[in-house]
C-alpha cells in the first residue's frame, strides 16, 4: 500500500513538533526516518497511528484521504505499529495477545482462541518464526516478543508497518534477524517506516531515507551516504564523529571488585564470582550480550542488589552493605539502564528530575527546604549545556522525546563532583550527535581522575570508549582485554569462548 503524508503539522501548545511534513512511502518500500532526538519522528508516527490528531495536513493510503480518530481506525485501514516497548500483556499467551483488541467469539461469546492460534501458526509459517501460540509472553526473550508484535500487526492485515526504534533493545543477532524479516515483509508488498539512530542499520535495509530536523523535512538522503554526511544532514552542520579521547593517564587502582556474586530472588547466581580493578582515570567497559549479568553488576556496585557476596572497595572503603543514598552522597554517579523506570519521574518537571538524587542537602536543599531559585538556575544552565530539547525547565519529563529523557539523566549525574561513575547503556536511544557528546563527557569524567565503569552492548561504543574491556557471559567475566582487541575476538568472547592468547 502506498502511504502519503501531506503537510502534516502537529503542535503541542506553542511547540511545533511536526511542521508541514510531506512524505511518501511506496508500496513495498523500506523508508527510513532519520533525525536528532526530539526532531519529531515519534510524534509523526503517532499521528499516523491515530494516537495524536494532526492540526493540519492529511494522510492518504493508496491515494484515499483517511480520517483516523484513534488507533483502531488506523489499524482497520491497514496500519500497524511495532512499538519499542511492547504493548503485550506479559501474563497472557501469544495467541491471547494476538487477538487482544479484536477478539473473535464463537457461539455464546466464548473466545475463539483456536482461530487465533491458527493465525499465529499461519503467519509464523510464512516468515519461518518458531513461535508457540500458547507460550506466555513473559517467558519469551525480547526478540521473540517483538515478533509477536509483528504477528499481531500482520494478523490485522497491516499493509504499512511502522517500527519506532525497534533495535535499541535487541542483540546484534536479533537485529540481523529483524532486518531479514523486514526484507521479507517488503518482498510481500508491505510498506515499512523504520526509525533508528543506528546508521549501519539504515544503510543495510533502507530503500529511501528522509531526514527530519526540528520537526520539518530537510531532505532525502541516499542509503549509500556516509555516516558523516547523514549526521551533518540531521544536525544541520558539519559534525565530527570521532571523539577526542587522549591516552589515559591512569592513577592508582581505585575501584576493586573481588569475588563478587549477586543472587536473585529465585536463588540463582546472576553474577558469579567476578573480580576486576579499575584505576583512577581509566574507563573499563563491560561488554557482552544483554542479560549476562551486567545490569546486576552495576546495581550491586550502587548497593541496589540485596543479596551480594564478595567485596567492592572504592579507594579502600568497602561499599557492599552501604545504603544507596550514602553511595550517591559519597560521589558515585549512576546511569541506570532502564531510565524511565529507574532514573526519572515522568510526572515531574525537568528541574525536579535534575535534583532527584540530590534531595538531601546543598545546593538544592537548605534547612529541609527546597532552594527552588538555585534549582531553576542550575536547570536552565544544564538545559543549554546538554542541549536538552524542551520547551523549558518546567516541562514534564514524560513529554520529552526518548533521547532527551536520557539526556536529563546523564546531565544530572555528570554535573556533580564524582568519585566513581557507573553508566549502564549510557547512549541507548541517543542520536549520533548526542552519542559523541556523551562519549566526550564520559572521557572528561575519566580525565578528571576518577574510575569509570560503562556497560555497553554496542561494539562501536565499547571500542570508542574503552581503555580496557571486560567481557561478560552468563554472569561471569570471560576475560579482560586491552582496548585494541579485534572485534571478532570480542565477538567470540561475548559468545563465551576464550580465544587463544587471551588471558582470562
Amino acid at each position: 500500500m502506498k502511504l502519503e503524508l501531506r503537510g502534516v503539522t502537529k503542535k503541542f501548545g506553542s511547540l511545533v513538533a511536526n511542521d508541514r511534513i510531506t512524505l511518501t512511502v511506496e508500496s513495498g518500500e523500506i523508508h527510513c526516518l532519520l533525525g536528532e532526538n526530539g526532531a519529531g519522528k515519534s510524534t509523526l508516527m503517532n499521528v499516523l497511528y491515530g494516537l495524536y490528531q494532526a492540526d493540519e495536513g492529511e494522510i492518504l493510503l493508496d491515494g484515499v484521504v483517511q480520517h483516523f480518530s484513534g488507533p483502531r481506525d488506523a489499524i482497520n485501514a491497514g496500519i500497524g505499529m511495532v512499538h519499542q516497548h511492547f504493548m503485550l500483556i506479559p501474563v497472557f499467551t501469544v495467541a491471547e495477545n494476538v487477538m487482544l483488541g479484536h477478539e473473535q467469539t464463537t457461539f455464546g461469546g466464548r473466545l475463539d482462541l483456536d482461530a487465533s492460534r491458527a493465525k499465529v501458526r499461519e503467519i509464523s509459517a510464512r516468515f519461518g518464526f518458531e513461535i508457540d501460540p500458547d507460550a506466555v509472553i513473559e517467558d519469551l526473550p525480547v526478540g521473540v516478543q517483538q515478533r509477536v508484535e509483528i504477528i499481531k500487526a500482520l494478523s490485522r492485515d497491516a499493509k504499512v508497518l511502522v517500527f519506532d526504534e525497534p533495535t535499541a533493545v535487541l542483540t546484534p543477532q536479533e537485529t540481523d534477524e529483524l532486518m531479514a524479516i523486514m526484507r521479507q515483509l517488503k518482498a510481500n508488498g508491505t510498506s515499512i517506516v523504520f526509525i533508528t539512530h543506528k546508521l549501519r542499520e539504515v544503510r543495510e535495509v533502507a530503500d529511501r531515507i528522509t531526514v527530519i530536523r526540528l520537526g520539518a523535512v530537510v531532505g532525502e538522503a541516499s542509503p549509500s551516504a556516509s555516516n558523516t554526511e547523514l549526521a551533518s544532514m540531521m544536525v544541520g552542520r558539519a559534525i565530527d564523529l570521532t571523539i577526542a579521547k587522549g591516552p589515559e593517564l591512569p592513577g592508582d587502582v581505585s575501584l576493586i571488585v573481588t569475588s563478587l556474586s549477586v543472587i536473585d530472588s529465585r536463588a540463582q547466581y546472576v553474577v558469579k564470582n567476578v573480580s576486576f580493578e579499575v584505576r583512577a582515570g581509566e574507563i573499563l567497559v563491560i561488554a557482552g550480550v544483554q542479560g549476562n549479568g551486567q545490569t546486576e553488576l552495576t546495581e550491586a556496585i550502587l548497593g541496589l542488589q540485596s543479596r551480594v557476596e564478595g567485596s567492592i572497595t572504592l579507594n579502600g572503603e568497602e561499599l557492599v552493605g552501604r545504603p544507596v543514598g550514602g553511595m550517591l552522597d559519597a560521589g558515585v554517579g549512576f546511569i541506570p539502564e532502564d531510565r524511565t523506570e529507574d532514573g526519572l519521574v515522568a510526572e515531574f518537571t525537568i528541574a525536579e528530575n535534575l535534583m532527584l538524587d540530590r534531595s538531601m542537602g546543598a545546593p538544592f536543599v537548605r534547612w529541609g527546604t527546597l532552594q527552588l531559585g538555585t534549582l531553576d538556575e542550575f536547570a536552565e544552565a544544564t538545559l543549554i549545556e546538554f542541549d536538552i530539547r524542551a520547551q523549558g525547565i518546567t516541562t514534564r519529563v514524560g513529554t520529552l522525546s526518548g533521547g532527551n529523557q536520557q539526556k536529563v539523566v546523564l546531565a544530572r549525574e555528570l554535573s556533580r563532583d564524582l568519585r566513581l561513575f557507573v553508566a549502564a547503556q549510557p547512549t541507548r536511544g541517543l542520536d549520533v550527535g548526542s552519542i559523541e557528546f556523551v562519549h566526550t563527557r564520559i572521557v572528561q569524567a575519566r580525565d578528571s581522575g576518577i574510575p569509570v565503569v560503562v556497560v555497553s552492548t554496542e561494539l562501536d561504543e565499547v571500542v570508542a570508549l574503552a581503555d580496557r574491556i571486560a567481557v561478560m557471559y552468563r554472569g561471569g567475566i570471560v576475560g579482560i582485554v586491552p582496548a585494541n582487541t579485534p572485534r571478532d575476538v570480542l565477538g567470540l568472547m561475548m559468545a563465551g569462548e576464550i580465544p587463544e592468547g587471551v588471558a582470562a
Partner: protein, 464 residues
C-alpha cells in the same frame, strides 16, 4: 536555542507516549544467564515490593484537574435532583394522573428540586428567614464546623496519597486520637487554653502512633497498608469500646454507659461566640459551634502545602509516590518515607479527633466518635485531588452538604441519604474511570499507550 524551546501554554498532555525509545526490557532471556532476571526490589526479601499499579492509579486520580472535580460535583447534584424528584410524595401522586394533567407532574418535580436545593443552601450558607445577620449566618459557621475535622482528616489521607499510600485507617486514628485527647482533657487540670493545646498534642501523637504503626508494619513485613489500616480500625474501635466500659479507664465514673467523662472547661476549645463576646462585650454573640480547631486546620493546610511543595521531605514523598523504583535508585529510603508519611498522615487525622472531643463533642464521647469522618476524609482527599487547598475547599463542600442535608430533611422531607448518594457519586465519577481503565487495562481515551515491557512484571501492564 531553537523554535523547539519556546515556552508553551498547552494543556496537560499524557506522558509516556507510545513509540519512545524510553524503555528497555532488561532482556533477561536474551542469551546467557539461565535465571530470569528479576527486579531487585522484588528480589529483596526484606523490602516490600512497591506498588507501581497502585501508584499509577493514584497518579491518574490525582492527575485530573479542577475542572473534572467541578464536573463531578455538577453531575452528582444533577443525579441527586433526579432522586429528589423520584422520592417526592407530590411527584409520585401527580404521576398517577400524568396523562390527564402532565403539567402537575412537572411543577411538582420543579418544586421538589428547587425546594430541596434551597433548603440545602439555607442550611449551609445563609438563612434569609432569620431576622438578623448573627442568626442568618449561623448555617455557614455550621458548614465550617462540620468541615473542620473533614479537612484535617482529608489532609492526612491526601498526604498519604501523594506518597502512594491508601490510608483507609482514618477511623481508627480518630478514635485513638480522641481517646488520647479526651483522657488529657478530664484527667489533668491545667490552665485554660494550655490544657486544650496539650490535648490537641496528645491527639496528634495518638493518631501519629496509630498511623506510624501501619507504616512500620508495611516497611518491616511488606503488609499492604489497606489491609493493615482496616484491621487497625477494628482494633482501635474495640480497644476504646473496652476502655469505655472499664471503670477506671475511660469510663465516666458512676455511669454504666460506655461513655467517657466530659472534658474539663479548661480543655475546651474557645468558639466563635466566646471570641465575639470578648471582642464585643454586651453585643449578641449567637450560639456558634465553630471553634478554634478551624484555625488549627488552616494552619495544617499551610503546613501540608509547605511539606509537599517546598520541603525536601515532601520532594522525596512525591518521588516515592510517583515512582518508587526511581526513588530507590536515587538513594531515597522508600520504607522510611512510608513510615514518616503515615506518621504525619495519622497525626493530621488525629487533629480531626481533637476537634471532635475538644471542640464540638465535649460532654463525653463513645466509640462512635469518628462519626464517619475517617471514611468521608477519603472522599474529601479525592475530590481535592490531594492538593492541600483542594482538600480545604472540598472539605468545606462536604461540610455544607452535611449541614444542609439536615435542613433539607427537616424542612422538605428529603431523605438525608440523598446527600450520601451525591457524595458517593462524586467519588465514583472521580475515582472510577481511571480505576476501571486500570482494571481493564484500557488506554486512557486520547492518550497514547504505555505498556508492559519488562518480562515478568505484571504491574507494568497498567496503561495510562
Amino acid at each position: 536555542m531553537t523554535d523547539n524551546q519556546k515556552p508553551v501554554t498547552g494543556a496537560k498532555i499524557a506522558s509516556g507516549f507510545a513509540g519512545e525509545p524510553v524503555q528497555s526490557p532488561s532482556g533477561a532471556h536474551a542469551n546467557g544467564v539461565d535465571a530470569n532476571q528479576v527486579d531487585p526490589i522484588v528480589a529483596a526479601p526484606t523490602e516490600p515490593a512497591p506498588p507501581p499499579a497502585a501508584n499509577r492509579i493514584i497518579t491518574e486520580i490525582l492527575g485530573g484537574n479542577a475542572m473534572i472535580s467541578f464536573l463531578a460535583i455538577v453531575l452528582a447534584l444533577a443525579i441527586g435532583s433526579v432522586l429528589i424528584a423520584f422520592t417526592n410524595p407530590a411527584v409520585q401522586t401527580s404521576t398517577g394522573y400524568f396523562l390527564s394533567r402532565p403539567g402537575d407532574t412537572f411543577s411538582a418535580i420543579a418544586n421538589a428540586i428547587v425546594g430541596a436545593y434551597a433548603a440545602l443552601f439555607q442550611g449551609s450558607v445563609y438563612n434569609f428567614e432569620r431576622s438578623d445577620f448573627i442568626n442568618g449566618i449561623k448555617p455557614l459557621t455550621e458548614t465550617l464546623t462540620f468541615a473542620t475535622p473533614l479537612i484535617a482528616a482529608g489532609l492526612g489521607v491526601a498526604l498519604a496519597f501523594r506518597v502512594g499510600l491508601f490510608n483507609i485507617g482514618g477511623r481508627g486514628q480518630i478514635i485513638i486520637a480522641a481517646a488520647c485527647a479526651g483522657w488529657v482533657s478530664w484527667s489533668f487540670p491545667m490552665p485554660y487554653f494550655l490544657h486544650m493545646l496539650v490535648g490537641v498534642l496528645a491527639a496528634v501523637v495518638g493518631g501519629a502512633i496509630w498511623g506510624g504503626l501501619v507504616g512500620l508494619l508495611k516497611a518491616r513485613t511488606g503488609a499492604h497498608e489497606v489491609i493493615v489500616t482496616i484491621m487497625l480500625n477494628y482494633v482501635a474501635y474495640y480497644l476504646v469500646s473496652f476502655l469505655l466500659r472499664t471503670p477506671g479507664a475511660l469510663q465516666a465514673s458512676g455511669s454504666n454507659n460506655p461513655k467517657s467523662p466530659a472534658a474539663l472547661d479548661t480543655a475546651i476549645m474557645p468558639n466563635l461566640s466566646n471570641l465575639l463576646s470578648v471582642l464585643f462585650p454586651g453585643a449578641p454573640v449567637g450560639t456558634f459551634r465553630l471553634n478554634f480547631s478551624f484555625v488549627l486546620v488552616i494552619l495544617a493546610t499551610f503546613l501540608v502545602w509547605y511539606i509537599l511543595t517546598r520541603s525536601s521531605l515532601g520532594f522525596r514523598f512525591r518521588v516515592v509516590g510517583q515512582n518508587p523504583n526511581a526513588a530507590r535508585v536515587a538513594g531515597i529510603d522508600v520504607n522510611r518515607m512510608y513510615i514518616v508519611a503515615l506518621v504525619i498522615s495519622g497525626g493530621l487525622v488525629g487533629l480531626a479527633g481533637a476537634s471532635q472531643v475538644l471542640g464540638t463533642n465535649t460532654t463525653g464521647f463513645t466509640a462512635g466518635i469518628d462519626g464517619g469522618i475517617g471514611f468521608d476524609a477519603i472522599t474529601v482527599a479525592l475530590l481535592g485531588r490531594s492538593r492541600p487547598w483542594g482538600v480545604f475547599f472540598s472539605g468545606i463542600l462536604f461540610g455544607a452538604l452535611k449541614a444542609g442535608g439536615y435542613t433539607m430533611q427537616a424542612s422538605q422531607g428529603v431523605p438525608i441519604e440523598i446527600i450520601l448518594v451525591v457524595q458517593s457519586v462524586i467519588v465514583l465519577l472521580i475515582a472510577a474511570p481511571p480505576l476501571v481503565r486500570s482494571i481493564f487495562r484500557l488506554p486512557a481515551p486520547g492518550s497514547p499507550v504505555r505498556a508492559a515491557r519488562r518480562p515478568g512484571r505484571l504491574t507494568e501492564v497498567v496503561t495510562k
